[in-house]
């Protein structure tokens, strides 16, 4: 079976994983915030070495397409699109909130929320079975208060928005912070059924989910 790559760069840290079928060959996560460009490529090189592969052997790429930091979202998608263009590879965009919810593995109501800056939170609610999320409602961009009020009692909550969910820790279960980061293994797990269904995109079809329009602050040199 051909190897494929999954990656996430939408958050403060990056994550990369190599797969053969639904078997994870190697995964690597980490880095410092806003250092994706410097850190991802040496990590990718090392990951390929660990898996005994060349990057050119990768035959498909799954990538988170947002929400996330504008630059981070672009970084992951640019890597995927470029690999896609090089080898005419099928690409599989994955929603960041869905990849995050997949960290929960099992749950009837899993709320994945991200700090969307400007005092807002973006979150989605999922049922998760066997590590695969099924969306229960469309993602929403809200205030932290609204976010807290929208979480049904008994929900599992994870993601950077959890800082705001702590006041309700008696009614919801906030998962441990190490699960608040998107893992490339989760991205790949979510993408695997899409691959089985042949639901791929070409590089020209990959669109970032920025959530917000661009700020129109003119640059002054």
């Amino acid at each position: 079976m051909n190897p494929w790559l999954s990656l996430d760069a939408t958050g403060e840290t990056y994550s990369l994983a190599l797969w053969r079928g639904n078997r994870l060959l190697a995964e690597c996560s980490g880095g410092q915030p806003r250092q994706h460009l410097v850190q991802i490529f040496p990590a990718l090189e090392l990951l390929c070495q660990q898996a005994g592969l060349k990057l050119a052997q990768v035959t498909a790429v799954a990538v988170t397409s947002g929400p996330g930091s504008f630059t981070g979202v672009r970084t992951g998608l640019l890597v995927a699109k470029t690999l896609g263009l090089c080898g005419n590879l099928p690409l599989y965009p994955v929603d960041t909130l869905e990849a995050l919810a997949a960290n929960a593995v099992e749950g009837d109501s899993v709320v994945a929320g991200l700090d969307a800056r400007k005092g807002e939170i973006i979150f989605g609610r999922f049922r998760v079975r066997g590590g695969l999320p099924i969306p229960l409602e469309p993602a929403r961009l809200t205030s932290p208060e609204e976010f807290l009020n929208s979480i049904p009692p008994g929900s599992l909550v994870l993601g950077s928005a959890c800082e705001a969910a702590f006041p309700r820790a008696d009614q919801v279960r906030v998962l441990p912070p190490d699960l608040w980061r998107v893992r490339a293994s989760s991205v790949g797990r979510v993408a695997w059924p899409l691959m089985q269904q042949g639901a791929q995109s070409g590089w020209g079809q990959l669109r970032p989910d920025y959530v917000r329009p661009a700020d129109v602050q003119v640059h002054r040199g």
Partner: protein, 343 residues
């Protein structure tokens, strides 16, 4: 992590270059360090015009959208395949950081995937070497006047691996001053071509504007000139204001460039950067060089604005010196000339 590493010098037969440092996305292919096979430029000028300047996040989003289609078009137009490349060159600064990141991310992915060396180019070095695209006979030493919307400086190219910054602007870049005067006179954005057009109908001697920093070495300053234009605004026609302003800028640029040539005993002068597209400046500097028996080199308009071909040329020069990027290459908002020299 270091940006650069040394290896044995090489001459890549086919260089692909990406440029995304400001509001132009460009992809170019250069054969044997001489022949431009293709130089695609997607300008975002219209996108930013309504804001009166470049909006960084809008620029980043557009670079993201167009870079891959542009890359595909360039390869098709030049009839080459990615596998044919011998090196990938990319602007890694200075520029709008988010914009630079787009080009560098794509270039790093290409280099790693194709297992080809990555040539990390300083955007200013791209402009400095742009005259070589059409004048392969140009050899160091030469004096380069680099004028654009973001930069105004005089550089002595002592040898292929030694660039000496003689002076730069202390405030506004020349192109920035054109933009600001255009804005003051409600001419719209970008200002350069509009000021030039209106100036053609005015009298360059109508207003006695200052010649900032005249006789004070190689540093420039244009913000005082802009203020002087503002003060004269009500007593003169826009055409006369533009003509007098443009003449003042040209006088200062030409004078300092010629003074540098004399001080360093250099026989060759080049003009580069977006403002090098200003026809009266090209004419004035060309004429004065001829009068003094100096050779004058200026690129076609296509190679004055930001473009991939000049990045490919500068990248080719780095390959000849054996400097390539590490996989840890970063993007930089500001980047001194020849930052790679310490490697």
């Amino acid at each position: 992590m270091s940006n650069y590493q040394r290896r044995e010098p090489f001459q890549p037969a086919l260089v692909l270059a990406l440029e995304t440092s400001c509001d132009e996305t460009s992809v170019a292919l250069l054969r044997n360090g001489r022949e431009v096979l293709c130089n695609r430029i997607a300008s975002q000028e219209e996108l930013h015009a309504r804001y009166g300047g470049v909006v960084p996040e809008i620029a980043c989003r557009r670079h993201f959208e167009v870079i891959h289609p542009l890359l595909e078009e360039a390869l098709q137009a030049a009839e080459v395949k990615l596998e044919d490349l011998d090196a990938v060159a990319v602007t890694h600064g200075p520029g709008l950081i988010g914009a630079v990141l787009v080009g560098v991310t794509v270039a790093k992915t290409l280099a790693l995937r194709l297992e080809k060396p990555l040539l990390p180019v300083n955007h200013l070095e791209g402009h400095l070497f742009s005259p070589l695209l059409e004048h392969p006979e140009l050899e160091p030493p030469w004096i380069s006047l680099l004028v654009s919307g973001g930069h105004t400086c005089l550089v002595l190219v002592e040898s292929w691996d030694s660039l000496r910054l003689l002076g730069k602007t202390r405030d506004d870049a020349a192109g920035e001053a054109f933009d600001k005067v255009a804005k003051m006179l409600s001419l719209g954005y970008p200002g350069g071509p509009r000021v030039q057009k209106l100036a053609a109908q005015g009298n360059p001697e109508a207003i006695a504007l200052p010649r900032p920093m005249r006789g004070q070495g190689y540093a420039f300053s244009f913000s005082g000139l802009k203020t002087a234009v503002h003060r004269a605004r009500d007593q003169h026609t826009p055409a006369d204001l533009c003509a007098s302003f443009q003449q003042a800028v040209i006088d200062v640029l030409v004078e300092k460039t010629l003074a540098a040539a004399e001080e360093f005993g250099v026989q060759r002068i080049s003009l580069a950067g977006g403002v090098a597209a200003n026809q009266p400046l090209r004419t004035a500097l060309g004429r004065d060089c001829r009068q003094r028996g100096l050779s004058f080199f200026v690129p076609s308009f296509e190679y004055c604005t930001d473009n991939g071909a000049m990045i490919a040329m500068a990248g080719y020069q780095m390959a000849r010196l054996g400097v390539i990027a590490t996989t840890g290459l970063d993007a930089h908002a500001s980047l001194p000339l020849q930052a790679w020299r310490t490697t």
